[in-house]
Symmetry: C2
Subunit: 450 residues, 2 copies
Amino acid sequence: MQKASLPKGTRDFSPQVMARRNFIVDTIKSVYTLYGFEPIETPAMENLSTLTGKYGQEGDTLLFKILNSGDYLKKADQDALNTKDSNRLISSISDKGLRYDLTVPFARYVVQNQTEISFPFRRYQIQPVWRADRPQKGRYREFWQCDADVIGTISLICEADFIDIYHKVFTTLGLTNYQVRINHRKVLEAIAKTIRFESSFTDLTIAIDKLDKIGWDGVSKELISKGIDASNIAKLKTLLTVQPFNESTINQIESQLIDCPEKTTGIQELRQVLAYSNLQNIHIALDLSLARGLDYYTGCIFEAIIEDSPIGSVSGGGRYDDLTGIFGLKDVSGVGISFGLDRLYDIMLHLDLFKESIQQTKLLFCHFDSEGQSHCLTLANALRNSGLTSVVYPDNKKINKQFDYANKSGFKWVAVVGDNEISNHTVQLKNMETGKQEEVSQDSLIEALS
Amino acid sequence: MQKASLPKGTRDFSPQVMARRNFIVDTIKSVYTLYGFEPIETPAMENLSTLTGKYGQEGDTLLFKILNSGDYLKKADQDALNTKDSNRLISSISDKGLRYDLTVPFARYVVQNQTEISFPFRRYQIQPVWRADRPQKGRYREFWQCDADVIGTISLICEADFIDIYHKVFTTLGLTNYQVRINHRKVLEAIAKTIRFESSFTDLTIAIDKLDKIGWDGVSKELISKGIDASNIAKLKTLLTVQPFNESTINQIESQLIDCPEKTTGIQELRQVLAYSNLQNIHIALDLSLARGLDYYTGCIFEAIIEDSPIGSVSGGGRYDDLTGIFGLKDVSGVGISFGLDRLYDIMLHLDLFKESIQQTKLLFCHFDSEGQSHCLTLANALRNSGLTSVVYPDNKKINKQFDYANKSGFKWVAVVGDNEISNHTVQLKNMETGKQEEVSQDSLIEALS
């Protein structure tokens, strides 16, 4: 006998969990759909050549690799095999891996289908991704991303759309205490020039990115060690304060930055996004300390958090000018965001936001003998033909066992059919939520349920 | 530069394909839901110990195995490594694989969650599975199964439910020319006794299973070579003829079989399924030549085909008495069916059953300048707030380019806003399907679209 178990970092989803996850997914889908995004799906497996080198060196080690079929050792790198070099052997015994995110497969999709796509192309994609990360609270080896991207336009209307999408998704989910943080890659570059940061731009963003962990004192120490003087540290501190995303904040930041092409573009684009956006409310913040994913983002950058929740960001995104370049399609600008389904789920559970009524309304027919059961089958079919979920208790068991099952399995309604009910053409209908029970004629059963 | 490509046997799904696939999936989901089935999901990866040995020797070689992370050669079987024995090495360098079907993961799920499940448990599961099969027309390495099972009852009401489910799914999809074929494992065993088949029962089913390929002549030759005499061959031929599933067919078969416990049970169960079933129509056939998956089926067996289609079975299923036994939960009977999504899709495409209107209705706002575009943004937001999908063309391009985009991207409606329309508070609304265009006031736009 084997023990039933799952690989670490992976999970089963029960009907109750599925109902809740589907509520989140359906919400995101319907908002994406309102803004004209359409679904695509890509395979779980991609060629390793598509995935490798796209997520940094650490990312490469976190890819799940699939062993080639058949006699895979025959074509293996014999040197690597003899020296037992695991890393070097990989490329000769594995040519496929599980997707690590939805962005690279999307870029690959766009390039591969470029002749059939009419640009600007608005797609959404909600699928699992896999990372061989160390599993820990809130971090899984299989988790779901919900991406939307527009590719093939530089129009900042798209950025404004995404801000609206954030608002609609979070308020529909009941996550009213959300904050969308915005930054612009070019404004960050202008900041580097303003504070005369002589090292690499990446060093500055790495330092800034540590704000959450080591606080301002830690960051300023690190920057001083890199030769930034006190007055510039002070300037930086003012700039990095999170502020409302409005005209006066943008003006103020503009006045604090030295003139350079990056400032001109960055400030102008932020101003345009603000002008296009439907929303200028307390939930949208300008956060120049936001430095995520700068490897490929080139314009606006987004991050969304839920305040008072123990989990960090639930969504990120931004504009990238050359995502498809690596697969041979140059100069196609795009912008997108991605929600983490599992993080949204964990936060909503933590905040107790799932309504009990998310599961399907359903009715269980209970009976005392085979005759009653046969009668129930006919009634159940009539209900189903009217679109109502119903189940006939399949076995001949005591009525309290049947009620017990109805309770545990989340049936809202129970209809009991005995000899009296058969001759009266009725059922005893019980609402399991309120406990109320009444005799209802078979003809008015559908009515009584709605 | 890399070439954008996919692993063989895998596919991307475009928005158009997704809309069609979702139509099939939503149909199956809603029928399953009507009969009280609830969704679960299990991870793509399972422990290899869960999967290995469940699908026969060939199945084991078709499992996609995932290479262990890190320095996987360190813990590798050194003997297997030195002798370059690919097969023997696997278990020491890979402990996870991609799921091969949804049945084994479901059995694992039931055993692992047995204390939380109330039986009979009705679950459906619609997820991809992976097999390292040789890709060919209609056979993919990643494909979707749509399973429903009831576990924890021996009631034949479940079998009757599945017959009804077949009817509802196929007619909703427009596959009116379907046939559900039914057999019973015990009737097959009674046939073996009737024709005095002395070899193993498996040999008989293997021979019968070849009917499709080698015809009756081939099968009878094979059976004669195994010692069956001519009169028994003739008996078998009569028994294996596909007949309508009704009382008179069952009586007739009963009279042709010799008395044995298998006959008693098998015939009685078929009769009971017929009595429970809502449907006794031309689409349901008794096919005693159906011998699929006899390794674990123990009662009724189902197969569904679409006549006049180039693809064989689109669904199969049956009752199994001990699916969970291997994981330590004994004596739990279950019954289930599984639709092949990709086969249904291929058949519906072949029969031209997809309606063009499956995709979302959506509207594109077109404009002549920035002022018009800004105006469109406001109108688009109003439509979205009423639940209507709308997109503002993001760039400032010539109007015919914008119309061109609307056409190619499947927008049903185009609303054009120029200076006149802004001052008149109207839009020029064009139905791209009919070509009809009219000036509509902004206030009645929502009305005009519905």
